[in-house]
């Protein structure tokens, strides 16, 4: 009871401090007054601290089973293991908003801490924008959807956690995704602040680079963990289903991926300034859009979300953000124009621009697929698209991006001469060899014949670059950002190979077996040995054992008596070098027979390994990296050598 009052009080105090910080910071930015800048920033720290206190109070209420709070009752019960009770903090609508606000407060404070050196006015505006965003979330938390709402009668036990979520993945996937979403606000705030202050140089890019990288890394990890979790838990044999919830997480990631590439053009060549502002703003708008979609239930999804009062508030917030950002770009970005000689199309710059345009194209495809039910519903009968749409529309764009990844890194800045074109012979030769090999093996699917050769060409490009660098090993450490990026490219090659193999060569079979009978799928033989029942802490497991070589696979079905007999299927997966064997227990008969669905998924492990390599490449490439690259914008670079 007391925790509820304290928590609500902390949120209200945080809201007041947040609003105060926003007002002071904007005033300070407008009038350029040093004192107010500092006070505004400290008010932001105070708001973040109050949010942290509220978060601690909610966590204490959860762990101590304080069932006077509606949130604790709705999301936990006494039988749920304590780590999962603690995870209830971000498991529900209100708690996840509080978690988001907490991350925004912490990262926002960190980004403001050393912001004075990029200019007092930029720092003040950035604090103001961050404080506004924070205040919006705090307002929703304090007024519309409070996690501290009290029940009039305290029940003896809670309602408990959905069995699908009683899994280790629950402990790590949601917090990473939500933290990723929250961190997109920081580059956005500094980009807008730079525009407001009329600063067009790359200072904001350098200052927020680590936050953009953090947002990107968290979002990459979140997507990867989500795929991994879905694959291991949901039992349909796949990892990505183009559900709106997945799409809205993918879009900001694509925008940030584009930005991480194009910001290099500004840092080293002083170009694409307006474009970079646009990408960072787009990424944040997509995050807000996604939050609105996910939490308002306006598009059909297999996930049913709590349809709550926060939908209209997020719509209003999205609208305000779009108006603000569009106005900023329209009225302020013109100043960012620089008069530099245009680069020729065939150059590193050209490759980056093309890659950016293609990624925006993918975003457009995904966006249209996500909002089609909404748009068509307004115009008449509601229409939806499935995986086939995304594959047909985004597939060709991904193929071009792969081809570009094979070529781009070998092109020099500014211009492509003969030597760089000659460097392309290795990737081209590799692609041809792989293509011929696939044709000889008997592959006839055109998408597969494009994906594998192009992916191997990308790998050849990376190895060509590493080969050059190994002659002077020290350059790898000195230019680790670049070689880290190549490592990320290599990781993507593995992901592409894994996705293509598991997509084009997946096999599945439905089978009903008596104990002792065998089934063979794609050359893998499984023997059903019999079933047994096991009683565990909060559920009963019905296990049907399958023997595979010297291993035993145990697909099972868990029944939760405490939750009215809700059932949950546990998939059994074993990994061989070439493929995953994925066994789902579909049903059991009274005579001891069992029905299985068996999938053979080639190279799925490559996706997980490749994903880890991508993130490692980017993180390692930037650890301890000073933003040492000077901006060359003011210097005019002659395109041709003087005669």
């Amino acid at each position: 009871m007391i925790l509820g009052y304290l928590g609500a009080g902390a949120l209200l105090a945080a809201l007041v401090m947040g609003g105060f910080s926003a007002l002071l910071s904007f005033w300070a930015g407008w009038r350029d007054t040093d004192v107010f800048i500092q006070v505004g920033r400290r008010a932001f720290y105070a708001a973040a601290a109050m949010t942290a206190i509220a978060a601690v109070l909610l966590e204490v209420a959860l762990v101590t089973h304080d069932f006077s709070l509606a949130y604790v009752v709705e999301h936990t019960d006494l039988s749920t293991p304590i780590p999962l009770v603690a995870a209830g903090f971000y498991g529900g609508q209100e708690g996840s908003l509080l978690y988001w606000t907490l991350i925004l407060g912490v990262l926002g404070s960190a980004s403001l801490f050393a912001s004075a050196r990029i200019g007092a006015r930029v720092a003040a505006y950035a604090a103001g924008i961050l404080a506004l965003i924070l205040s919006f979330f705090l307002f929703v938390l304090a007024v519309v959807a409070s996690p501290f709402d009290l029940l009039s009668i305290t029940p003896p036990d809670g309602l408990g956690l959905n069995p699908v979520l009683r899994d280790g993945g629950m402990l790590i996937h949601p917090p990473v995704v939500l933290a990723g979403f929250a961190s997109f606000a920081i580059p956005f705030a500094f980009a807008c602040a730079a525009l407001l202050a009329g600063r067009a140089d790359a200072a904001w890019i350098r200052h927020t680079r680590r936050f953009a990288l953090l947002a990107w890394s968290l979002q990459s990890a979140g997507l990867l963990l989500g795929m991994w979790w879905a694959y291991h838990v949901l039992g349909w044999g796949g990892y990505w289903s183009w559900d709106p919830v997945e799409n809205v997480a993918l879009m900001p990631w694509l925008a940030t991926t584009a930005y991480l590439h194009s910001s290099q053009v500004q840092e080293t060549r002083g170009r694409l300034r307006t474009w970079n502002f646009g990408l960072v703003i787009l990424a944040f708008l997509l995050v807000v859009f996604g939050t609105f979609i996910v939490r308002s239930g306006v598009v059909p999804s297999v996930h049913t979300f709590a349809i709550s009062a926060i939908g209209p508030w997020f719509f209003g917030f999205l609208f305000a953000c779009i108006v603000f950002a569009t106005a900023l770009i329209a009225f302020r970005a013109g100043r960012a124009r620089v008069d530099v000689e245009p680069a020729p199309a065939v150059s590193r710059e050209g490759a980056f621009v093309l890659q950016n345009l293609l990624l925006i194209g993918v975003i457009a495809v995904v966006f249209w697929g996500t909002v089609l039910p909404l748009v068509s519903g307004m115009l008449g009968a509601e229409r939806v698209v499935g995986a086939a749409y995304y594959e047909r529309a985004a597939g060709p764009i991904f193929v071009v991006i792969l081809a570009l990844m094979a070529v781009g890194p070998l092109l020099p800045w500014r211009r492509a001469g003969r030597p760089s074109l000659r460097a392309l012979r290795w990737p081209a030769a590799t692609a041809c060899v792989v293509l011929v090999g696939l044709l000889l093996v008997g592959v006839r699917s055109v998408p597969a014949l494009l994906a594998f050769p192009l992916a191997s060409a990308v790998a050849a490009t990376v190895f060509t670059e590493y080969g050059r660098a190994f002659k002077k090993p020290r350059t790898i450490l000195r230019k680790r950002r670049r070689y880290g990026a190549y490592l990320a490219h290599l990781g993507l090659v593995a992901v592409v190979a894994g996705v293509a193999a598991s997509h084009f060569a997946q096999q599945e079979k439905d089978v009903t077996l008596q104990p002792g009978e065998q089934v063979t799928v794609a050359g893998y033989t499984l023997t059903y040995t019999g079933s047994e029942q096991r009683q565990l802490q909060d559920h009963t497991d019905f296990v049907a054992a399958m023997r595979f070589g010297d291993q035993t696979l145990e697909p099972s079905r868990a029944t939760y008596a405490g939750l009215g007999g809700q059932a949950l299927t546990h998939v059994a997966i074993t990994t061989t070098p070439a493929a995953d064997l994925y066994v789902v227990l579909a049903a059991t008969g009274a005579d001891g027979s069992a029905s299985f669905r068996v999938f053979v998924n080639p190279l799925v492990t490559w996706i997980w390994a490749g994903g880890v390599v991508i993130i490692l490449g980017v993180v390692l490439g930037n650890v301890g990296q000073r933003s040492a690259v000077p901006e060359l914008a003011r210097r005019r670079v002659p395109v041709t050598l003087p005669a």
Partner: protein, 128 residues
Amino acid sequence: MTMALRWGLPAVVIAACVGYLIYSASGGSSEYYLTVSQLRAQAPAGDVRVAGVVQNDVQKSKGGLHVTFTEKDGTASMPVEYTGTLPDIFQPGITVVVEGRLGGDGVFHARTLLAKCPSRFSTQPYTQ
């Protein structure tokens, strides 16, 4: 060549290509998302997705891999037939989305069956 032409032209070309991809792909593979009563009123050609509540007449056969049941919304209902693994939470009373087409026999032949998966942490909202 001016700056605008140099970068604008490729941008326009790519935008046109993406537009064409979106147009052709969504034309070919979009489906109507209907309620049972809308489907009863007018069944479009091709596959559709239909949302409704599973009724009490679920019958399983072929070792649990084949299932028939009645799907109902506020006013209309239809028999559904489906072969494949069922979602764990499949039981009378839950909302499912079936994808397939209404046969001449009046039975909806489902290709896929999705349960509305509760993304919420809780099992049901707490009401007193």
